[in-house]
């Protein structure tokens, strides 16, 4: 199909498709003349993926590029594969902690929680958690230790489920871990709101 057909099939404008092509987010089509190219179903899937990552998962185009690079060039062993999936996720989301007076206390809490769960103390993830704890504290939101332990227990339930959806085939597993996590993050948060409404109705005796 021509670029206008790709636009029709994906609901993405021709101008946006040309932008994806220039930025390397979409591989070039097969040239059919000096000014025209032909696109196929792999292009349709790639455009849908870029849209899902930007719109649903809310990633920047730079972050989408990192995730696509990990998907397009997966490492050979399954162990390396899951490692690089997690690195791509963490790197794509970025964020540098701004250290201040509350930072040390927040980082201490993050390290303690991770040690208590027996989780790995990847400094990128621990720093990110510390920064998020610091931001909540600065906004006046109180997060008692028991509360954080409940969130951590729920995270173990989600992660166990996440792992069962990643099948044995390495490339498919990488795709499922990276995309599955990014695209189900919003689902996790919506389910939290639904469960909150139910929990507060129960508490009010409705």
């Amino acid at each position: 199909m021509r670029i206008s057909g790709l636009a029709a099939a994906t609901g993405v404008s021709v101008a946006t498709l040309k932008y994806y092509l220039r930025e390397g987010l979409l591989p070039p089509g097969r040239a059919t003349s000096r000014t025209q190219a032909s696109y196929d179903d792999t292009h349709v899937s790639r455009v849908r993926l870029v849209r899902a990552l930007t719109e649903s998962a809310g990633l920047s185009l730079g972050a989408v590029r990192d995730v696509l690079a990990a998907l397009d060039d997966p490492p050979a062993s399954r162990h390396d594969l899951l490692g690089s999936a997690h690195r791509a996720l963490v790197a794509a989301e970025g964020g540098v902690p701004s250290e201040d007076e509350e930072w040390d206390a927040a980082r201490h809490r993050a390290v303690e929680l991770v040690a208590e769960r027996g989780w790995c103390d990847d400094p990128l993830l621990v720093d990110r958690l510390a920064e998020q704890l610091r931001a909540a504290g600065a906004a006046g939101v109180d997060l008692p230790g028991d509360y954080l332990r409940s969130l951590a227990a729920a995270a173990d339930v989600v992660a166990a489920a996440d792992l069962t959806t990643a099948g044995p085939e390495p490339e498919a597993a990488l795709r499922q871990v990276v995309l599955g996590t990014l695209l189900t993050d919003p689902i996790v948060l919506t389910l939290r709101r639904m469960a909150q409404v139910r929990a507060s109705q129960e508490a009010s005796g409705v």
Copy 2:
């Protein structure tokens, strides 16, 4: 303190503070002359809150305005209060579903999941879940029913913990539900990644 003092206390530039004032995100200071005003600790907390909502929770300034309006004008009864907290959350996050051929199937799955959990079928939340299921499906991410049921069970754990942190005093409870949810959303997602790393290490026998 003068506006330069407020900037120093919060780490936010004078230009940004003036923007918050113009947009009504920060109440005016007490006028001390025709061109100067004096700010106090309530302004420091408000600036920190606006920063946390924009930077950590990733809300737009329009969405921050909706959340602040709910916080500044809480309804009288506790039941109305939790209801308006959830409406402020859902409205602040917005999003209109784009209906297409996969929409009906996704919405049917969302309705089924909600009915199975005995959750309330608030159409705003059900539509949002349906849109997120559709987006994951369009990107080629498979979400089996058992997987969604595990996510929903984890959401119940989080929501039960969320409710225990909201104390009996209505204004504080509203603040904790709205801000607590927005500011701990990123924490929930970080914990998920930490738990995933651990789960994949266990699966690889590391």
